[in-house]
Amino acid sequence: MELNGVPIEDTYAEAFPAVAARLLITAETPEWARTAAASFTGFATSVIGCGCEAAIEDGAPAGGTPDGRPGVHVLIFAMGKKGLADQVVRRVGQSVLTCATTACYDALEGGDAWIKVGGKLRFFGDGFQSSKRIEAALDPAGRARRLWRIPVMDGEFLVDHRFGVATAIAGGNFLILGASPESALAAAASAVVAMRRVPGIILPFPGGLVRSGSKVGSAYKFLKASTNTPYCPTIRGRVESALPEGTGAVYEIVIDGLTAPAIAAAMREGIRAACRPGVLKITAGNYGGRLGKHHFRLREILES
């Protein structure tokens, strides 16, 4: 199969079950909301090294937020509910509570479980915290909502008592093999722009793409993952390379999503945008189907 003259390898991306939360951070201005969101999602590229994967999903216009102020949605993924709760509480506590004028709300619809966030952070109020209930009668889903008001030096920090947790998917991916670093990067950047329009997904790596793709295992006993040698152009010839002749650089785009269709939609948009002059091939990373239960076949995604 080819798209715009770029071969699409007949393979699949292997992704893993995860849990996710969706937060809405609002602030006095869109800039402050984005500042808090950027801090919240900092150092959150990989579950292995950071404990979670997180990124900004989209901006929320003032008219659509609970307090009527501009906001930003963020998605955060972890391997289990306990780890997710730990990361969300730490990050809301250190990056949102601390940021001028912010408030933080649960923005997940239809979660499977709950984690306590405001219910833990409230103790920062040192006994002067108070809560407000938004009555179930006012909620379209008929669910009461409890918000904590924590006194801070610029007024009050408002945060939901609990946040929903959804069963989600982490590790959807595809790789862009370019003839040169410039062409590979340009294609990857185009893909990122297209993919960020898809709701319900994030691209957790810096700028939405990753250059240090990894493989399982290494030459060292203490290291469980190491550089993806078959896709490193500079050691081609010294290893069993997966790169076609003339490959100058490879970029991987990793996708975490709330649902499989959202990840598939993002991959479709991304691959279509990436298939442009200077790209030699599109492929995907997997472990032979042994590790992840979600398989995203590139050709099926593009044909659907």
Binding site: D67, E135, D139, E156
Partner: protein, 272 residues
């Protein structure tokens, strides 16, 4: 689902109220028309049935409409747990008292004790409410413990008295002792409030858009932007409560905390 419709035929000119606790969607859900007509009522010391005072059409539904001037019919929707009850006219005392779910709409005025000690659901009064809306019965520790009361007109004395949780919204004015002795929840008054607002309150929030005389046992703290109020107001607006444009936007309020003669953890907010 079909609607059950009751038309009030009056009490023959008597000024004695009709006790009508049985007028509730819970009672109509599994009864046909004949069974509804046999539900008990009391008129003074005389026992009667629904059919003596109302013309009933339909059955087996929790969507209920009652038409007529029911100002002397007490206890409509008492302790209801679900369904919809529309009162097309005025409602007597205790409408929606102790309700825990569902929705009551009163197109006219409601007399005293509307929504008293309710724990959930929505009571929407398009006209005025009497005294002690959302309040506590004599001897009770707590008044309203959850749910929402909307009053599009004015309300009387002791609105939200002894309130424990929930939200009361009055678009017009309230009289004296609003939120007196409340221990949590929110009373939101878009008009003015009478004297001793929040007297004896322990916790909870009273918002009055036309600042009342504040009791000396309340202490002025600071001007701030209460985001929880913006969340409440946005929820009200999305729900369809007729708020004036712009009211839902965050804005600065002056906060008084008190009542310092009690626990002192309550607050009265007035626009700054």
């Amino acid at each position: 689902m079909n609607e059950v419709r009751l038309t009030f035929r009056g009490t023959g000119g008597s000024r004695i109220p009709l006790d009508a606790d049985s007028l509730s969607p819970d009672q109509f859900r599994d009864r046909d028309q004949a069974e509804i007509e046999k539900l008990p009522l009391h008129h003074g010391n005389a026992a009667g049935v629904v059919g003596d005072f109302f013309t009933v059409r339909g059955g087996r539904s929790d969507q209920v409409a009652i038409e007529g001037d029911l100002a002397l019919v007490k206890g409509i929707g008492t302790a209801m747990t679900g369904g919809v009850l529309r009162v097309e006219g005025n409602a007597g005392m205790h409408v929606g008292a102790q309700m825990s779910g569902g929705r009551i709409e009163v197109s006219g005025n409601a007399d005293d004790w509307a929504g008293a000690e309710m724990t959930g659901g929505l009571l929407w009064i398009k006209g005025n409410a009497g005294n002690r809306a959302g309040g506590a019965y004599r001897g009770s520790r707590h008044g309203m413990r959850g749910g929402v009361v909307f009053v599009e007109g004015n309300a009387g004395h002791e609105v939200g008295g002894y309130m424990r949780r929930g939200l009361i919204v009055v678009k017009g004015d309230v009289q004296d002792f609003a939120g007196a002795r409340m221990s949590s929840g929110t009373v939101l008054v878009f008009g003015s409030a009478g004297i001793r607002t929040g007297g004896g309150m322990k916790r909870g929030t009273i918002v009055v858009y036309r600042p009342p005389v504040i009791l000396p046992t309340f202490k002025r703290t600071a001007v701030f932007t209460p985001l929880f109020l913006a969340v409440q107001l946005n929820a009200l607006r999305r729900f369809g409560f007729p708020l004036a444009d712009g009211f839902e936007r965050p804005r600065p309020f002056l906060r008084y905390h008190g009542d310092l003669a009690e626990l002192g953890r309550g607050e009265i907010l007035v626009p700054a």
